[in-house]
Symmetry: C2
Subunit: 370 residues, 2 copies
């Protein structure tokens, strides 16, 4: 009875296209065990006592050094979503407008709305937001901020081009808008080259979010954000008033893992595990679904989002999918305007190539049958 | 620059009466290191992946079994304060009244107010709330709930008598009021016998909060709540929408510590460490401050709260204390109505008997000088 729904489903023979999660076999279990014990031995008085609301100091120093920041510009929390919640609670008042890509990460849309935000979607193209639409929406709604996942976007898999990042940064600058740039998948690039972040272009108006959930483990719940000091102080105050100090053992364990030099090999392992899964997904989409929809061709991340060219309610697709052995997320959840009935997010990291192959063939049959 | 203010202060020669924290030397560092490594080895697929928003299953099962509950009636989070925040966000709307003891835990008052609650203080007597005043305030304000720390109250050190618990439970029943009973210090009883909890009297209208912060370590951030299923589902939904899954490594580490049978000896160790500190505090208060104020004589917990019988602003006391080498918390923070200028909370667990002795002597001098 303690098993969450998702795990009950997983235990069945269903192919779960619902789970945007890492492959369980990728967790560096033994190393993390050693790192946790070692972190407790080395840092016990820091991590067992109440400490800074900003999180474990050495990990903040490491992150800050990598971005030319002060450690106090970094906030560590229980996953990046909780930091979005702090941002929402610190900066949003009822009626504040926030732009998001459309589609975007459903949980973030929910967190922003819970704080009273009006969330408006900017149509997403294969190389990032439609910037003409974006500027029109800025002029119409005067948004406080835009939430954007620049690399391997959730749920579409698109990556914003360098040209668009520059133009978007210029828009943010022109209209005095804050940018939340969420990059949990950035280091999961299986091909091609990194593109400069929006944060690197306009650091004075960007809060960048990231996480070790996709690189090491989600259950550790180590998310991070950095940005201008005045914003980080406001978020930090909200964090302090919520939990005094975040959960420090996980943060110190992650730091110890990094300090031992283990992260590059872990990321390489993930690349080698996930790259063929993405290739398989794109290949079977090409052979099975070319006439049924369109999708981006991501070079990394967790997802390929398919926009089907038929018309039906998401519920019909989901129900027929369950009958045939695949689980799908409701596409409307990703759309701020509630459209998205025919949008299907396909996560591939936690599925074998065989499951991906069978799952997409089933999806194609299901779509044809509707 | 990563050191929080409190630790900077601690590093000085000040005696910190500001810190309601465990003694750092009481942390079972080595055992926790072994438990963390062992938990990762045993439960890796549960604690490294996303899991239930309610928290680590085996620890919930253990807690539930101890109280005759279902495991899904237990919610684990990053400390009990975050659960109070979930309660506030789930159940409070602007204008909702919540009663608290006066004085009460300052951070909870803040969390309740942040959610829009009107927080009203019920005068605290040595054996718990003044129930005549409580009933009047219930009739006047129709509170949704009352937040009460029944054992070794923070900040006063008082314990609610069994008779008052029964009468208060009857009031809650009569007026249809929810009770939040926070018991982080319950197992830190250095003398005398346990008194039945309010939760045991009216389980259908009580959410009980507790934590491993005072028993094992605050930095692990393992707080818990249990109560009627419908409330726990609402809190759980808010938790899920905030962080998906709580930080699981700490929760599994705590479970492993319990599962190895180590908790009773750890608590016994704390009793033996803290008992003489409390005795020393009460003794030096008697010799140095008998004419300056009144206080409860707690049989456990972390605090003795002194109500001074002079009149001045808290700021004057704090400033003069700093000049003389003691740090004090602003007493007004504990009072919902902003009184409390002459209330002084004295935490004793993280101070040696020598520090307690010197600190109280200094406090007495400071008070006399005002």
């Amino acid at each position: 009875m303690n098993i969450p729904d998702r795990r009950i489903q997983e235990a069945s023979n269903m192919i779960a296209f619902t789970r945007g999660v890492p492959a369980t076999e990728a967790f560096p279990v033994e190393a993390l065990g050693e790192c946790a014990a070692s972190a407790l031995a080395k840092y016990s008085s820091q991590i067992l006592q109440y400490d800074s609301f900003r999180g474990f100091g050495p990990l903040r120093e490491f992150i800050a050094a990598g971005h030319g920041l002060q450690p106090d510009q970094v906030l560590l929390s229980q996953g990046a979503l909780q930091i979005v919640d702090f941002i929402a609670r610190s900066l949003i008042t009822p009626g504040t407008t926030v732009l998001v890509e459309q589609p975007s990460y459903d949980r973030v849309i929910k967190v922003l709305r819970r704080a009273g935000a009006t969330v408006v979607g900017v149509p997403l193209q294969e190389d990032g937001m439609d910037l003409t639409a974006c500027e029109e929406l800025i002029r119409e709604h005067h948004p406080l901020m835009t939430y954007v996942i620049s690399d391997f976007q959730n749920p579409s898999g698109t990556t914003m081009s360098e040209a668009k990042r520059g133009a978007f940064a210029a828009l943010a600058e022109q209209y005095g808008m804050l940018v939340l740039e969420d990059l949990p998948y950035r280091r999961l690039r299986y091909a091609g080259d990194d593109i400069p972040t929006i944060q690197s272009m306009i650091p004075h108006r960007t809060i960048q979010l990231s996480s070790f959930s996709k690189l090491l483990s989600p259950g550790l719940r180590v998310g991070l954000a950095f940005g201008p000091q005045q914003y980080m102080d406001r978020l930090g105050k909200t964090a302090q008033d919520t939990y005094i100090t975040p959960s420090l053992l996980s943060q110190a364990t992650v730091f110890e893992f990094i300090d031992r030099g283990l992260l590059p090999a872990q990321i390489e392992k993930l690349h080698n595990l996930y790259r063929p899964r993405l290739s398989e997904l794109l290949a079977v989409l090409d052979t099975e679904m070319a006439d049924l929809g369109t999708w981006a061709r991501p070079e990394g991340g967790f997802f390929v989002g398919v926009t089907l060219n038929k018309s039906f309610k998401a519920e019909a697709l989901i129900a027929r999918g369950l009958e045939k052995g695949i689980q799908l997320t409701n596409g409307r959840d990703f759309f701020a305007d509630g459209r998205g009935n025919t949008f299907v997010r396909l996560p591939f990291c936690a599925l074998t190539t065989d499951e991906i192959d069978e799952g997409v063939r089933t999806l194609a049959q299901v779509v044809r049958s509707l």
